[in-house]
């Protein structure tokens, strides 16, 4: 079970805000996500992204290749359009969904949420972009130091969690 931290936020001005605050407090109070759960979510995300990549790749092949049969022969214009589409999908999948819903599709399916470690709110878009596109790749690529960080953190947070002031919680009622 997570430890309860009464957050010092402004007084609620409406019923909806009071309920939002209650939800944030509940999320903060929930259990920290175990490392193996985060690995499971990562694996599932990889599968979803592979399906999306294959769909985009083969669509590019069909709509852009015409008579041609190799990727190298697809015109640069078609390739750049599809790459833009793919980059947009990746951004929406990884960053926008974490900002809007509190996690990627896999995290949501497994009952995990990425929240601010102090307030329990969802992260802003800038923080999500830094967390997912800067700190996480650095942590993984530089000798997986970001992952080893969990050994030293009391609540099992990784380097990108600490740097973005976030935490991944497990909501039992949601999975």
């Amino acid at each position: 079970m997570g430890h309860y931290v009464k957050n010092k936020k402004r007084r609620s001005r409406s019923i909806q805000q009071a309920l939002e605050d209650a939800e944030h407090d509940h999320h903060l109070d929930s259990q920290d996500a175990e490392f193996y759960m985060r690995v499971a979510a990562f694996l599932l995300d990889s599968i979803f992204l592979f399906l999306i990549s294959s769909t985009v790749y083969h669509s590019m092949f069909i709509f852009g290749a015409a008579e041609k049969t190799t990727v190298r022969q697809i015109s640069p214009l078609v390739a750049s359009v599809f790459l833009s589409v793919y980059a947009t999908i990746l951004f929406l999948y990884i960053c926008w969904s974490t900002n809007r819903f509190g996690g990627t599709a896999a995290k949501l399916l497994l009952g995990l949420r990425v929240i601010d470690c102090n307030t329990g709110e969802k992260l802003g878009l800038t923080r999500v972009i830094l967390r997912e596109l800067v700190w996480k790749p650095i942590g993984i690529l530089v000798g997986a130091i970001g992952l080893w960080w969990t050994v030293f953190e009391r609540d099992g947070r990784t380097m990108h969690d600490v740097l973005s002031q976030s935490v991944v919680k497990r909501l039992d009622g949601d999975a």
Partner: protein, 445 residues
Amino acid sequence: MILLVPVRPEVPKAHRPRLWPGLLLVLITSLAFIEILPIIRHDTDYIQGIKAVTKTQIHNEDISKRVNDYLSLRPLLKIAPAKGDWDLTRVLFANFIHGNVGHLMLNLVGIFAGARICTTFVPFFITLCFFIVGGSLGLLVSLQLSSATSSFIPHVGASGGIFAMMGAFYVYNFHYRTKYFFWFPSKHGLFSLSTNWFFFFDAILLELLLSGSQLFLNHVDGVDHVAHVVGFGVGATMAILLRAIQGWPAFLQTRGEFFYWSKIERPKNYDPVMTPIETWMGLLRINPFNDLLKIKLLRLAVAHCSRLSDRQVDEIFRFLSPTFIKLHTPTATAFVAVAILKNRIVSKEWLAGTPYDSVIRIAKQLGGQPDGVVVLFRVMQEYKKAHPDNPSIQRKLELLLAKLEGVMPQSAHSTAEEPGTDDVSKFPREPSLGLSGKKARTGSE
């Protein structure tokens, strides 16, 4: 699809598919592979021999015709069909033939999964028919549309049949959820997703693209995508026809529900409200995962809450699972609101078993409506009473109630605090939660 394996539809434990249909079909396919292994080895050696011959006579202008003549005599064609040499028997047997161990292993996973999930809805014999008919038609169409360099390349494999079983499952479980396994060795390796859109995306969309690539761009990767797509279509079509013949309504998921439904007789003292309510509740006792039935029941219950007995109200509350509340929050909230406004007893068992997240979801729905504020306060109070020994819930609810008291209109607050009032006239007659004013449906649809 091999990365995400559909394990079963989301059904109660008693309706879950058994292991034996999948294991039986796996056994048949494995035995068939062992039986024809010598022919496959002989065929492989024969092809290697052809390659050796064509290399030494590479400048011979008749090489294509000669290679084709050699290929027409390959051993595998005795048991497997090709575009230039096929018959119905070999097309049927091709469903059980695989070219190598890797091909067999991948298809065995699909065979086990497909046979298992299909037998939730239809008997094993019907599943076998889906497999053989769908797979055979898939192979046949693939043979005719094949544009391979030689018309003597055999088409083999169970994947057309596997996709036929998937197509049948897709039809039967279209409105419900499927449990998937993604090779993670833990109970968390299982999760549920809606069948109608994700199954299509996972199982067939990519195959449609790949078969288009195969047909129009001549991009051959050794996988018979056309057979997959045709197999899926044939399986789905057969399932639709079978359901039409059986008269299987769209709102029933499992065979248990269908058998119960088919034996129901219209009572002599038919009541257009209570008879369908009792019928839906009877079906939900068989399968409490059926969200379509819950929605039908809740709509009737909201419109006629006063006529329900305490036992019925209590049972309806217990059908409001956390997943249903998450996916159908407005419908669940409407019933909770009406029950409280009509001073019905809120099931303590339901309150004790409902997680805090679900209550917050209901509260957020209520908080967005002017009539819902009073109900919200009562829900929170009832939930607090149902968890007297949980200090965490008590603390959170006290904080929440304190915040709500600070922002709620005074009139709503004082009305909510009056306990046990029978005078419902001071409450709105119908909550404006999207259901008032709509005529209640009868159970005759």
